[in-house]
């Protein structure tokens, strides 16, 4: 295993690599099948800058997400995009790192209101496949100087470069939170209710639906200061009245636990099934659900994100043919990954662009080969 202690060493190791490298932060979010010598970023650790008054934080790639979240919490702030913790779903150990989070564009329920990880990412430093050190973006939240490679690196899963440092925009943590709950809705009604809530002026920061039949529950989260929550909770309850009786969960700790379950998709953890992550237009979610009747489903982002646990080997993309969007195979046996493909195939002109980018940023094809473009 290669374990650089600083960026120079990282660049040296990539430059000198004789064969493929499997890049690992905490190793908590493995995706697809890749080979090679492990290159761990764990040694590149530590928060290098945190200015609460400027809502910005910079950390080395191997810094544990938990360390950053603790530093933010001490100042009453947080990561806006509520990054998912993949450990339960994937059955992995280790500690999620800032670099891994950025490389996976890991985003949770609040993505629907506050944007994804890529939206809060304002700067990166990385080492490309040739060993060159590149910086893009910076530590300020408004920056259009040159092309936005920060976005390109977010979600590229290390295939265009190994992140060495990331800068994020952070937000204040609101004082109060409540969750409204509707019971027994089918997917169609649930998506309608969530769309109405998200289309209201009350800034719903989570809209999820899980379970079947009478056990189904539709969850809507409000966050803000105390008097704001009092107002919004009443107004949103009234708006939701046509969809059934509205229950209110106003215990903060219980609310946190509830949304952690949604965020981490813990309902689909520790099972034999394959797990797919499907991105669709929310109003297409009911049709997708109808086609996936046999699967266990969790709807987040108002229906725009569907987590599906299916029988091993089932070709979910074929089942959803004609529904706009795309599906990623998140958890499956290596043979299934090989047979169905981890990522959705791209249209030929887009595939050409992706391959072109990959070939230029990693000409030797040594960074996580087999993943992405």
């Amino acid at each position: 295993m290669l374990r650089p202690e600083n960026e120079d060493e990282l660049a040296e190791m990539v430059r000198g690599a004789a064969g493929p490298l499997r890049i690992e932060g905490g190793g908590t979010r493995p995706v697809g099948v890749t080979t090679g010598e492990v290159l761990s970023t764990a040694g590149l650790s530590g928060i290098t800058l945190y200015e609460p008054g400027a809502l910005t934080l910079v950390a080395r790639a191997g810094t544990p997400v938990a360390e950053v979240e603790a530093a933010l919490a001490a100042e009453g702030q947080r990561l806006p995009f509520e990054p998912m913790d993949h450990r339960a779903l994937m059955g992995t150990g280790g500690a999620p790192t800032m670099g891994g989070m950025a490389a996976a564009n890991a985003s949770g329920p609040r993505r629907i209101q506050a944007g994804a990880c890529r939206d809060s990412l304002i700067g990166v430093r990385f080492v490309d496949g040739t060993g060159a050190v590149v910086k893009n973006g910076g530590r300020v939240m408004k920056n259009v100087t040159g092309y936005d490679l920060v976005k390109l690196m977010a979600g590229a899963r290390g295939t265009l470069g190994v992140l060495s440092e990331v800068a994020v925009k952070v937000l204040p943590r609101p004082a109060a939170q409540v969750t409204l709950r509707l019971r027994g809705l089918d997917a169609g009604r649930a998506v309608q209710a969530m769309s109405a809530a998200l289309g209201s002026p009350y800034e719903v920061t989570g809209a999820a639906h899980r379970g079947q039949g009478a056990a189904a529950e539709t969850l809507l989260r409000l966050e803000g200061f105390e008097s704001q929550i009092a107002h919004r909770r009443a107004a949103l309850s009234e708006l939701m009245a046509p969809y059934g009786a509205v229950e209110v969960e106003d215990d903060g700790a219980a609310g946190d636990a509830l949304w952690r379950e949604i965020r981490d998709v813990s309902g689909l953890a520790a099972a034999e099934e394959d797990v797919w992550r499907v991105s669709v237009r929310p109003s297409d979610a009911p049709e997708a659900a109808r086609r996936l009747e046999a699967a266990r489903l969790l709807f987040d982002w108002g229906g725009g994100l569907i987590w599906a646990a299916t029988d091993p080997g089932l070709d979910l993309r074929a089942a959803l043919a004609g529904v706009a969007g795309h599906a990623t195979l998140v958890r499956a046996a290596p043979e299934t990954h090989a047979a169905l493909g981890t990522f959705a195939p791209e249209a030929p002109p887009l595939a050409a662009i992706s391959h072109g980018l990959r070939a230029r940023f990693d000409p030797r094809g040594i960074l996580n080969p087999g993943l992405m473009g």
């Binding site: 008054g53 893009n136 300020v140 976005k151 979600g155 002026p201 072109g356 473009g373």
Partner: protein
């Protein structure tokens, strides 16, 4: 500012290029007479002008593709153009280029409230996107001050911001998908009405690429429900240090205003004279706007005012209703017009870490004095995006150059304190040669590689963004 020599071979083939373009476009969509081409010789950075070889105004994605295919075959550079309001010379032609204007592509294609998006052709103006949905209480959040004129095409190319981006983000945070035509005429669909595009985040790279990767013809944009209401509070301070500290305290207190606007004394005075807004006579003025229901607004303004009082404001004025809100915004909204009354000006756009605000304002003052020019500051304080306005007289020989030299020094200062050259206006030609101050050769090389992939012959929007020296080898390929 230097531009590459026009390619004589292309100039000599003008008639042929025009003829071929005319064969695939409606008659009135190909402009090639010298007197008509004047209209396309510059954008809002009027100090630089150069009439193009021709200008075309296609009416559909297919026409854009057909025209680009021809330009690609003829090896003619193409400069995409929205409404021409770029302040960075992003849409400045070269003599051997064809301007491709999207002004005729201005339809709304689809509006979807349950899924909260609108799909438009990109020649549509920013304000008219909100105009298409506001009767239903929705809006499109990014709101550049030029929103009456600027097109979504230019907003995407420049990743434009606005007064409300502290809360709602800039263009890239509100863009879901695009239809884009590559230089060789290939039409690509990226993203769509679903939330996350598959594969690499190409949408993120295209947004802000200043028309150098492809011509964007359609866009899917996120629309949001209007807040119940919004109101500002105005505060004046005895020094910019105190105002800066107040901004930081407001943010640390956990309030997230939609806008925090800052003006310094020269700007306060000019806008007040111009608009009669009744601003206080002080060194620094903040306008902080919050949103929500009446009760929510009262509470937030109460908290903000409480913080402001700790900094001994010389004035603190809370807007109680729409009328008072309008009066508070009046001066700020007319700031650029007011400065125009004082003479010619260059509008800079660097961003700095918010904590550096007082230092940077002081050093800008000192720099201005050393150049013998006046600088007024008005900017988005919450995010550190500064707009120093350098006043000069274009009729005095040499003053433009002096003003530009001062501008370059101020932008270098922004980079030096940890910020960047441009927060929302883009690099264009204006900041092109300063790029090597912010980026290493490797940093620039990585960006140029992206262009290699999308536009291997480097024909789209030539001589922008990258220092001519850095891109020389690549641009040579166009010949």
């Amino acid at each position: 500012m230097q531009m590459p020599e026009p390619n004589a071979d292309i100039l000599s083939r003008k008639a042929r290029v025009v003829e071929r373009l005319s064969a695939v476009l409606p008659e009135d969509a190909v402009i090639h007479e010298d007197h008509e081409l004047k209209a396309y010789e510059c954008d809002a950075l009027t100090a630089y002008a150069c009439p193009p070889l021709a200008a075309i105004l296609p009416g559909s994605t297919e026409e854009v593709a057909a025209a680009l295919r021809i330009c690609h075959e003829e090896r003619v550079p193409v400069v995409p153009r929205g409404s021409g309001t770029s302040l960075a010379g992003g849409a400045l032609p070269t003599a051997d280029s064809v301007i491709l204007g999207v002004a005729r592509l201005n339809e709304v294609i689809e509006t979807n409230y349950p899924d909260r998006y609108i799909r438009v052709q990109t020649g549509r103006t920013n304000l008219s996107v909100t105009g298409a949905v506001e009767e239903d209480d929705f809006f499109y959040a990014p709101d550049p001050s030029s929103q009456l004129a600027c097109a979504i095409a230019g907003n995407i190319a420049m990743n434009s911001g606005g007064a409300h981006c502290l809360k709602y983000g800039v263009t890239t945070n509100n863009l879901l998908g695009v239809t884009m035509v590559q230089m060789d005429g290939t039409v690509v669909e990226i993203g769509g009405a679903h939330l996350d595009a598959a594969g690499y985040d190409l949408l993120g790279v295209i947004c802000g690429s200043e028309g150098q990767l492809g011509v964007v013809t359609e866009a899917t944009l996120r629309i949001l429900r209007k807040p119940e209401g919004a109101r500002p509070v105005l505060m004046g301070f005895a020094s910019s240090e105190v105002a800066g500290a107040c901004v930081s305290d407001i943010i640390k207190a956990g309030v997230l205003p939609v806008a925090i606007e800052f003006m310094d004394r020269p700007c306060i005075r000019a806008t007040d004279d111009f608009s009669g807004a009744g601003y206080p006579d002080c060194e620094a003025l903040l306008i902080v706007e919050v949103e929500g229901s009446d009760g929510e607004i009262d509470e937030q303004i109460g908290l903000i005012s409480q913080i402001a009082r700790r900094h001994d404001p010389v004035e603190l004025r809370e807007a109680a209703d729409a009328d008072e809100a309008g009066r508070i915004w009046l001066g700020r909204k007319s700031a650029f017009g007011a400065m125009g009354q004082l003479g010619d000006y260059i509008c800079l756009d660097g961003t700095i870490p918010v904590s550096e605000l007082p230092t940077v304002l002081n050093r800008i003052g000192a720099l201005a004095e050393s150049y013998g020019l006046r600088v007024a500051n008005v900017f988005h304080a919450g995010d550190g995006n500064m707009h120093p306005l350098i006043l000069f007289d274009a009729n005095t020989p040499g003053q433009l150059e002096t003003a530009e030299a001062l501008g370059a020094d101020i932008l270098r200062l922004c980079v030096e304190v940890g910020g960047c050259l441009t927060g929302e206006h883009g690099v264009g030609v204006e900041k092109r040669d300063l790029m090597s101050h912010q980026f290493t050769a490797e940093d620039l090389e990585a960006q140029m590689r992206v262009k290699d992939v999308f536009d291997p012959a480097w024909l789209l929007n030539p001589a922008k963004v990258f220092p001519l020296e850095s891109s020389r080898g690549r641009r040579g390929m166009a010949a």
